[in-house]
């Protein structure tokens, strides 16, 4: 019993060192994805028709390509010209991929804000940009939150893919322990608990934000 506890502690201490890597990769990916998503969604709904087509193309192409392929392209092809570390190649690739999904999330949310509000805002003298910034976006972001929370947990799990270019996140550390100790259940059990904890924290935080900014009608 004592031995098992000792094993568990050693395994946990080793794997938990990958926690920060997983969190960092996910945070970068979500930030990049959020920025791309909001900008692209606005362009998709309010932009020039040519711009709308370009954004749709990005969204369709990126969503069609497996994330691992985007990571390989960034790390092995793009970084011939730009010096990208494995961490940044992996995190940015996840961000580009998530950006496509977030574009669709925010596009849906923006379109869900009744078009009459835009017309009304213009009628009282706001510019289009002002109306988007002050009237449409604050509502759209609220509407997007539940779907965005879902995307955040998906990106968290996709962060395991960055090991393909040598970034040692939680899952790889679990594999290393499993290969050394031949106790896969212990190693992957610890990884599972860490992912579960991260997912719970993320969803709780987003639910708090949702409640905090719920519109009182």
């Amino acid at each position: 019993m004592m031995g098992l506890f000792q094993d568990l502690l050693t395994t946990f201490n080793f794997i938990v060192q990958g926690l920060w890597v997983t969190i960092s990769v996910t945070a970068v990916a979500l930030t990049v994805g959020f920025t791309i998503g909001v900008v692209m969604a606005i362009a998709r709904v309010y932009g020039h028709p040519a711009l709308q087509t370009a954004v749709s193309a990005y969204s369709v192409v990126i969503r069609a390509v497996p994330v691992i392929v985007i990571i390989f392209i960034l790390f092995f092809v793009i970084s011939r010209y730009v010096n990208l570390s494995p961490f940044w190649a992996g995190a940015l690739a996840l961000g580009f991929a998530s950006g496509a999904y977030q574009t669709e999330i925010f596009r849906g949310a923006i379109q869900a804000v009744q078009s009459g509000q835009m017309i009304a805002a213009r009628a009282i003298g706001m510019s289009r940009l002002q109306a988007i910034q002050s009237i449409v976006l604050p509502q759209a972001l609220r509407l997007a939150l539940p779907a965005w929370g879902n995307e955040a947990t998906l990106v968290l799990k996709d962060s395991t893919l960055v090991f393909a270019v040598g970034v040692p996140e939680i899952l790889r550390r679990a594999q290393q322990v499993s290969a050394r100790t031949f106790e896969p259940f212990l190693a992957f059990g610890v990884a599972l608990l860490l992912y579960l904890a991260l997912t719970l924290i993320t969803t709780q935080a987003l639910q708090w934000i949702e409640r905090r900014y719920r519109l009182q009608v």
Binding site: V25, L30, P138, A164, Q175, F182
Partner: protein, 281 residues
Amino acid sequence: MKKQMLIILALIVAVLAISACGGAPAAQPTQPPAQPTQPAAQTAGKLAQIRAAGKLIVGTSADYPPYESIDASGNFVGFDMDLIRAVGEQLGVEVEIRDMPFDSLIASLQEGKIDAVIAAMQATAEREEKVDFTIPYRMTKDAFIGASDTTIVMTKPEDAAGLAIGAQTGTVQEGWIQKNLVATGLTPADKVFSYERADQAALDLASGRLQLVLMDAEPALELARQNGLKVLLVTETTAEGGKSVAIPEGAADLKAELDRIIQGLIDDGTVKALEEKHGLP
């Protein structure tokens, strides 16, 4: 209200960005200083480049004891690790080891992300097309293993015909199975299973999904001892020669120097001593 919302969002983004920046160095404690990536064609001066950098960046897949693994304190340990450090010492440079999946090693070497690969890797014809190899530092044997209660008896590799068999993806063993069992019609293709790591294949042996696993002999002995599996046959037939260090294609000066150092380490008994240290037959 709307301003507050925007401020909060800006804060979230800022916090995420800061945590990301803080995380990057932690994730890459040993990132080399920015240097232009060498296209595959310009590898002639590789040795001079490594000497100038004072560092040999070596890729491995640290899930293959006793050749390479990571101990509880996060250090790279094993026969290959000790050997490459001895090579680095003779070369007069520091050795930096990077862990990545076995499948990514050759591509990373081709793209100049790493200077060499040591991962119990054998110089196959397919790999020779993409990268160069040093002389072998150790000849290999393979082993067929089965579950503890298996009734299979093997006297030659072809006795594996028709049985559900597993191997690690992209390895020499998998190639041998495809060439000698599947292509010859001895084993149907749907009875051959490929795993990212050999220990996963061993798990499927225990669960009964596989009848045999073909892998390198030494980790097989280790795996069999720890998991109570049965070693059915140890053979040289399925192995193609020995394990070598992979280096970028055309890096002739690096190859000459590494060949000389490795031959020296074999001759002066260092390799033998390391084999004994790590329990390799």
